[in-house]
């Protein structure tokens, strides 16, 4: 029998300081997430300097906590994995320095993980990813549609050409006077309203790219015009119409991809997959096409280190290790990452 592989994973790309110990890319043996959302809400968004300062303050505590919950010792760990891109540079660096230190002190290999890949591999925690599978990654920084052909081979079908879906939820929430984070607030309001505003379909072209900036501008113009005319804006209805239009557009593109590729497995990933309307519509769509659909538990949809431990496992098996020149990157062409890790 093969020896079990345990990876200690670190994630500090944005709001959350998180560490996890994951066995064989699947079993979460320990997970700690320290979130900063309350602090950031006062500022209407993530403040990079505060974020990196708070990561610095909490990272050793998170490490202690993660090891305390773990039944083994740090010496039992086989590798140290860390998110190096994309994200806030100052925040990423805190995680990277911690990972390098642990790697050096305990003489364990270092694995560099792309955050987006983490979101995708979060699906491995509860269900084995069956290849080939179609994957939709929706978060604050991403809107990507990919085909996972095998553990080592992926292809990007389409991405956003302007705002990510998470960004556009946050911006529309800002215009409607809702606090950060905008996504859950839009969703809450939408539940109270009806889809009564006629909003334009974001991108009519029959390709797999997404565009949300036109929809965003339209909602903003609408709010301005109504205010100028002293008309009442029905916030709940507008939130509902906006959410419906944005999500339906995503669904339309996924349907197109399912039809074109004939793939029978679908996974959803990223922070925005916490959105219930999106989950339900995806479920319906997949039922319609007889496609097996999986979405991670909400805990693993938002940023967490367990998903980084999952994504690091295939890299460990392929012996794709990083050295101490590893640096943080604010953005990374995911295509390049896929090529390099094939």
């Amino acid at each position: 029998m093969n020896k079990d592989i345990r990876i200690l994973a670190i994630e500090t790309s944005c709001d959350e300081t998180s560490m996890a110990i994951v066995k064989n890319g699947k079993v979460v043996e320990s997970l700690t997430i320290a979130t900063q959302i309350k602090t950031h809400a006062n500022f209407g968004g993530v403040v990079p300097e505060i974020a990196s300062r708070m990561h610095t303050e909490s990272i050793t505590l998170v490490l202690e906590e993660t090891l305390k919950k773990f039944s083994g010792k740090i010496e039992d760990i086989d590798a140290i994995a860390v998110t190096y891109a994309p994200g806030l540079l100052g925040s990423l660096l805190v995680g990277i320095e911690c990972a390098k230190t642990l790697s050096l002190v305990y003489n364990k290999p270092l694995i560099a993980v792309n955050h987006t890949m983490g979101h995708i591999y979060a699906n491995n925690i509860e269900h084995d990813i069956v290849y080939p599978t179609l994957s939709l990654v929706v978060s604050g920084g991403h809107t990507d549609l990919l085909i996972l052909k095998s553990e080592q081979d992926m292809e990007i079908l389409g991405s956003t050409i302007d705002d990510s879906i998470g960004e556009v939820f946050d911006k529309v929430a800002r215009v409607l006077g809702m606090p950060y984070p905008g996504g859950p607030n839009i969703e809450r309001e939408a539940l109270k309203g009806k889809d009564t505003y006629q909003l334009p379909i974001p991108m009519k072209e029959e390709n797999f790219n997404f565009s949300f900036s036109g929809l965003k501008s339209y909602v903003i113009n609408l709010v301005h015009n109504e205010k100028q005319r002293n008309n009442e804006i029905r916030i709940s209805d507008l939130a509902n119409s906006f959410q419906t239009t944005a999500v339906d557009e995503v669904i339309r593109k996924v349907e197109l991809a399912l039809k074109k590729t004939g793939i029978k497995n679908m996974i959803l990933a990223g922070g925005v997959s916490a959105n219930k309307y999106l989950r339900e519509e995806m479920q319906k769509l997949c039922e319609k096409y007889g496609v097996t659909f999986h979405v991670p538990n909400i805990l693993y949809c938002t940023d967490n280190a367990a998903m980084i431990g999952c994504a690091a496992y295939p890299l460990y098996r392929a012996k794709k290790f990083a050295d101490f020149t590893l640096n943080a990157k604010s953005s990374e062409n995911i295509k390049k990452y896929i090529e390099e890790n094939k």
Binding site: V47, E49, G141, E167, S213
Partner: protein, 150 residues
């Protein structure tokens, strides 16, 4: 002196950005201000295309800074909206002297951090498609840019 440009649609804003790109130089700083949806990111897209950057320029709101180094000069594309009151020691200033072009959306938010010499562009909403762009060059080199493009 200020310069005024009326953009009839996105294409106009893209083209204008491309024309400004033809006057680029290392350490150029362009500050974009204006409400959500007035075309700041569209401007950055046009500039980046003309620079020969291969990647799609997407909104930097989530990451604050996105760096692109596949063009004739490096491009640092920022959205500093989320920094608001908390802008000290974030390393923004380092970008101004790294040899590339910096485009800052919502630059007003970090007024004290901005270099003395720079080009300010204010985007004003007129109607659904039309925007008025007001150019404020700070420094001779940016006045020359405006003179040759506008």
């Amino acid at each position: 002196m200020d310069y005024k440009f009326t953009s009839k649609d996105e294409m106009d804003t893209l083209e204008l950005a491309q024309n400004i790109e033809s006057e680029k130089f290392p350490n150029m700083v362009i500050c974009l201000n204006g409400e959500l949806g007035t075309g700041k990111t569209v401007f950055a897209k046009g500039f980046a295309q003309a620079l020969g950057i291969e990647e799609t320029i997407t909104s930097p709101t989530f990451n604050i800074v996105k760096e692109y180094d596949t063009g004739e000069l490096p491009l640092y594309h920022m959205d500093v909206y989320r920094l608001e009151e908390n802008k000290d020691n974030i390393g923004i200033k380092d970008y101004f002297t790294k040899g590339g072009v910096t485009i800052i959306e919502w630059a007003d938010m970090i007024e004290d951090e901005l270099p003395e010499e720079r080009l300010d562009i204010n985007f004003r909403f007129v109607d659904e498609n039309t925007r008025i762009l007001i150019f404020k060059p700070h420094g001779k080199i940016y006045e020359d840019v405006c003179d040759s493009v506008l």
